[in-house]
């Protein structure tokens, strides 16, 4: 068992595809949202869409941490680096996210800001220890998967009395984002986004467990199937969703039992609640302000909270007018609905955040799906 090849087997994939075709009722349409960018990536990369019958449609969700980061938060980091002369450390994908006035962290770096890429939160902490003369700020982003490592380094920094290390916290919560989509007028009233169920995130669920999704199944009558990131996992999850819809069930099911339990990772959860508390409100790109959808650092760790230490204030900035990321993140539009997709906006020169990370809907479609848009003409 290597947990990889077995879950990418082509012969099994066509069997699963055949099973989905048999089970999907030709008299109805199915629309499922894969919440997580990792699934968006897998679906595009392995061409899962091509294996599905025409009446089963996948909608990309907002679960790509880079994609939902609003311009104003990146501006904060750039301002901090340029005005306060601090060193900003962040995950690689953040560097190219468009900020105000055509800026990005990468461009700010070219202008002399000390902005560096790290692979992990531990690397950020180690760098602060190595360079005590510099003020080091870790620009932390991500859902429930990257939050526990951030919590860990904040606690370590406090224990070490590390005076030159703080965190600019942008951690967001998956359940609030799902809730916002379900409450959005497009889904609730207008019916412009038919949504029959969700593929629940893989890695996020290893941390939070399967329990937090029960609310969506019960309250909104939407089935949720938690799935692993391999193509066969995704196809099996789609099959399970089709079954639930056919049988009129709305339950939380877990396809990813090899890694996800009901309770999740209790150790990580305890650490997160020791260091973080809920933010009253946080702006998401595409979803606007979402109440109680993000985390902030608790008072007890204020010394390592960059917002408190440098007195940073958040200022909201509207997105590029041509960019449809907002609508795409809410499932209302597709990447190809954007006028500048693949022309002005490419992964090399992203105009919007969905084109930055390979998990973003626009980048995934650009890299793996765009040739399918071109009709094949027989010679």
């Amino acid at each position: 068992m290597k947990y990889v090849d077995e879950f990418r087997d082509g012969a099994l994939a066509s069997k699963l595809a055949a099973a989905i075709r048999v089970e999907a009722d030709p008299a109805r349409n199915y629309a499922f949202m894969e919440f997580c960018g990792g699934h968006t990536h897998a679906i595009s990369r392995y061409g899962v869409t091509d294996l599905l019958p025409a009446n089963v449609r996948m909608i990309h969700g907002p679960g790509c941490p880079v994609c939902v980061l609003p311009i104003g938060r990146i501006d904060m980091a750039i301002r901090l680096a340029l005005a306060e002369n601090v060193t900003i450390l962040t995950y690689g994908d953040c560097l190219r996210v468009p900020a105000s006035n055509g800026q990005s962290m990468l461009k700010a770096k070219a202008r002399g800001a000390d902005i560096r890429m790290v692979y992990s939160a531990a690397d950020a902490l180690a760098l602060a220890q190595r360079e005590p003369e510099r003020q080091v700020v870790f620009f932390a982003i991500g859902f429930e998967t990257t939050t526990p490592p951030t919590a860990l380094v904040i606690r370590q920094a406090k224990a070490l009395g590390l005076a030159n290390f703080s965190v600019l916290c942008n951690h967001v919560l998956t359940p609030s984002a799902i809730m916002t989509i379900l409450e959005s007028p497009e889904v609730r009233e207008l019916g412009t986004v038919p949504l029959d169920g969700f593929i629940g995130p893989a890695h996020v669920s290893t941390v939070i467990g399967s329990r937090p999704y029960a609310f969506f199944a019960e309250e909104y009558r939407k089935p949720v199937v938690i799935a692993g990131f391999e193509p066969l996992d995704v196809m099996q999850a789609i099959r399970m969703l089709v079954r639930q819809v056919n049988e009129g069930r709305a339950e939380v099911e877990n396809e990813f039992t090899r890694a996800v339990t009901e309770d999740g990772n209790r150790k990580a959860q305890a650490l997160v609640s020791e260091v973080f508390e809920l933010r009253r409100s946080f702006e998401w790109r595409g979803l606007r302000e979402v109440p109680y959808s993000a985390l902030k650092i608790r008072k007890a760790f204020a010394e390592h909270d960059a917002e408190a230490r440098f007195g940073l204030a958040y200022q909201s900035v509207p997105d590029n007018k041509a960019c449809e990321c907002g609508a795409i993140l809410r499932g209302v539009k597709k990447p190809t609905d954007c006028k500048i997709f693949g022309t002005v906006c490419t992964p090399e020169n992203p105009m919007g955040s969905c084109m930055v990370s390979s998990e973003g809907a626009c980048a995934a479609h650009y890299n793996f799906g765009r040739f399918r848009d071109i009709p094949v003409v027989a010679a």
Binding site: M1, Y3, V4, A18, G38, S120, T145, P149, G228
Partner: protein, 83 residues
Amino acid sequence: MCLAIPARIVELTGEDNARVDLGGVRKEISLALVEGAAVGDYVIVHVGYALSLLDAEEAERTLALFAEAGIDVAAAAEEGAAP
């Protein structure tokens, strides 16, 4: 940044750290967020930290469910073919 493949622990290197094998690539990661991980276990690694252990029995069960899809299809086809 969320993409990751399961990694096999090849050596415990002390202070909650371990060396893992990621499809042939060796890498040092942290085990600080999981409990009871041992050499030979597979873990899901995310930004340098193991988030959970993989359960071999559950994996087999899931693979068996995939395989069962083929049987379903055959059965359905037979049903369809029956007069």
